[in-house]
Subunit: 260 residues, 4 copies
């Protein structure tokens, strides 16, 4: 059997002795000139954003930076931190929690919205019609539309602010419009107030910035990493080791005691 | 046995219906006004940085954002991504690699430097003397000083730029000075050119910004998360699934074949 | 907003002071009487296996215990181990690689086979017909059937042995039969020799033992954990820290150097 | 700069087309002949155990298989599972929790005991004297001896059974003896009943079986992986998505609300 040589291609960055290039730019020239949010954009999209997009990028990351212990990611990080592990291990544990039901809606919602805007162009129909079709389809299939609704926030303060900012920065486009049309369709068709949550807002805005939907979770991964670092260190500094659910809050409902 | 109630304290953030507070500030007021780097500082230090510190914070994060496949973290992320997993799982795998020998030097170096500056004050001796004592001690114990030397970069372009920026922003203080005194002591005492690498530069500057050393790895965790997202998505888009070391590059040197 | 009390139900096990119960049995009575394979069966299926099933369970775990560095999981574990992390962190990194393309076929193949056997009963048609229908459907959709084919092994020695053992132990049933009928259908319909690989063999046998398909990856997670522990310790004992792809094997094909 | 070829050595296993060798043995010959516990021993120690050691190996793995939700590992796994991730990601999250304070005592205790037995030989003093020296040293330094004491079990049923089995199987040797001498020294010197817990029992027995202490966590990693698979699947089958600490059980004690 002929083996391929072990090589690896990348278009992201290049390392040479005394030289690091990110998407064509010298890293040491970037340092001090660009904010971290702008460099995240560079890494993911291949070139630097405009000043407005750079500001929006920072805002998107800021919006996902922490949600206290009211999130499975922070809870996992703190349990693992309590077990006596290095910082990166407890943070990785929390990042693993950014699954389908926790941050994953960004990707899912961005996909729905990006496909919706494409359909609208291809079929030459209005975003209102697309929105109604999306709500109808999900309602018939008894599926939630990702990026809508929130267990705690009936009006998500992050959404309101992000959308306003996107308008001020002239980034608000067809994807944000469709996202809001879906909110309206919930009201008009089902008589329900189901809000665009922060995941949905990030999804709409990143779509208007031209990010493919598969980058969706990336925003939360980077942003929440910062919060999880804080939670891990606080846990180890202020709490006792070995945090676990107390015995009297565990309800055993398995088979009763029996002989081998 | 009396069980404690399952409660959890935190001073990081507070979530109420329609309201999220980070270290006392309303998250929706922060969005759009502060860069992500400034919010990382807020999360970790408890209040916002000055404008100069905020700029430095962004620069520190930018400097660690990626190092191509020449880093175990990116390699781990790409192997795991090739196995067909969601984004957060491959990124978490790379973050796990930010151990003692990869990013971990920030914490280790910051600790040496923070203890050194403290000793200098307590014993009223110069940083040059402290630096010589540190080099001597490590030399006698045949231990590397964390944050010095680099396999590829004989002159680390990131270090040079970060230290210059720290001076321009008036952040450069006793910790950076001590870090440079150690470089000089290598030269004077051992006649060796051993450079302060990017980990050491981040360590010195974060120390002058007042971060306890245990936050050291945090800078890499957040920064590199951005690069790892790019590597994971590039791997899944451009390469075939199931990347593994080819058979003819694995050298088996265990026991030869034998019967059970 | 009324919050639910923080309680958690489980039917797996119960901990009381000086007493641990697994699925109804006292753990200290199990220790020494049952093999680990039998206890894995207990944990997942809710009661102990017959002696034959217990033997099969051990064999299934043994078959997945290691595959040298020719697997993304071992590679990820070794890169992460080289970075200087505790054992559990490097092993967790490898376990993360047990995704869709690496071990994930057990679940995928078990699902196809379990649904096939159900269809066969419901529609009262032969397994041969079901097999042909499955091959035809995947061929038309240009999809691989999970659990078939292998990059290195044209005849997988683990498959042959596991199926023989399943026959000897009277565990071989309709699911194994269907798996073999699919192999035959490849030959008859497409004139291709596409073998049932070890993932497919585990999938078929676990199905005949009554495990729902979602336990599929579990066999690899437990089994490979043992191999990954060995790889992690060997890496740290025999190799230098900070393993990374060498610079001259990284092919950069991104934008050429440009000014900011 | 001359780069080394990218090769990797291993003495664990060898993969050739149609052939897999583990520590010199053909994997397909092992399948069905050896229990999983015996193969774990093979992977870690390099050759097969005696029949008695194989039985002990299985017992050690069985003893660590699960501890309900009263363990940070299971809790982390369940939070992460609730977020909608594949099985390996939630299990990896739990494995990450096997740190210094959760399973890590096996390694720590084995180290103390292995060093103690070595000292006893070198200095030709009794294990009782060594035990007293260990208790005295830890008491003076105000440090716990790893492997002793348990939050729930004043008499750990797993310890009692494992030590009895080690005696029956003629594996009980100087390391187990020293472990018990330490229990006695607590009583005699400090008048405290501090029991050898299950971590300490595994540590003592694996030491008498000749395992270096760094394999200590490996026993828990493999064993608990089985329990964590059960917890992850149960969580996703029986509970709602997005488990998080309820808002009213999070006590915020950070700065009160203030303006930006």
């Amino acid at each position: 059997m002929k083996e391929k040589k072990f090589e690896w291609r990348t278009a992201i960055s290049k390392v040479e002795p005394n030289k690091i290039i990110i998407r064509g730019y010298l890293l040491d020239e970037i340092i001090g000139k660009k904010s971290f949010g702008e460099v995240v954009y560079l890494l993911w999209k291949g070139d630097f954003p405009t000043k407005e997009e750079g500001k929006m990028m920072n805002a998107l990351l800021v919006s996902g930076c922490d949600h206290s212990l009211a999130a499975p990611s922070a809870d996992a990080t703190r349990f693992v931190a309590s077990s006596g592990v290095p910082l990166q291990a407890s943070v990785a544990s929390g990042i693993l929690a950014l699954g389908k039901y926790h941050g994953g809606s960004i990707e899912g919602c961005a996909r729905i919205i990006q496909e919706g805007v494409n359909e609208s162009k291809k079929q030459n129909i209005t975003l209102t019609q697309i929105a109604e079709e999306i709500v109808k389809r999900h309602h018939q299939q008894k599926k939630r539309i990702l990026g809508y609704g929130h267990p705690y926030h009936k009006s998500d303060p992050r959404t309101i602010k992000l959308l306003k900012l996107a308008k001020d920065l002239k980034i608000y486009g067809k994807h944000c419009e469709l996202a809001i049309e879906i909110e309206k369709a919930f009201k008009n068709m089902l008589n329900k107030k189901i809000i665009l949550n922060v995941d949905g807002a990030i999804a709409s805005i990143m779509s208007d910035m031209g990010f493919p939907y598969k980058y969706g979770k990336g925003f939360y991964i980077v942003a929440r990493a910062a919060g999880l670092v804080a939670h891990s260190i606080e846990q180890q500094e202020r709490e006792k080791p070995f945090k676990a659910v107390p015995l009297d809050q565990i309800i055993y409902d398995g088979p009763s005691e029996k002989n081998l």
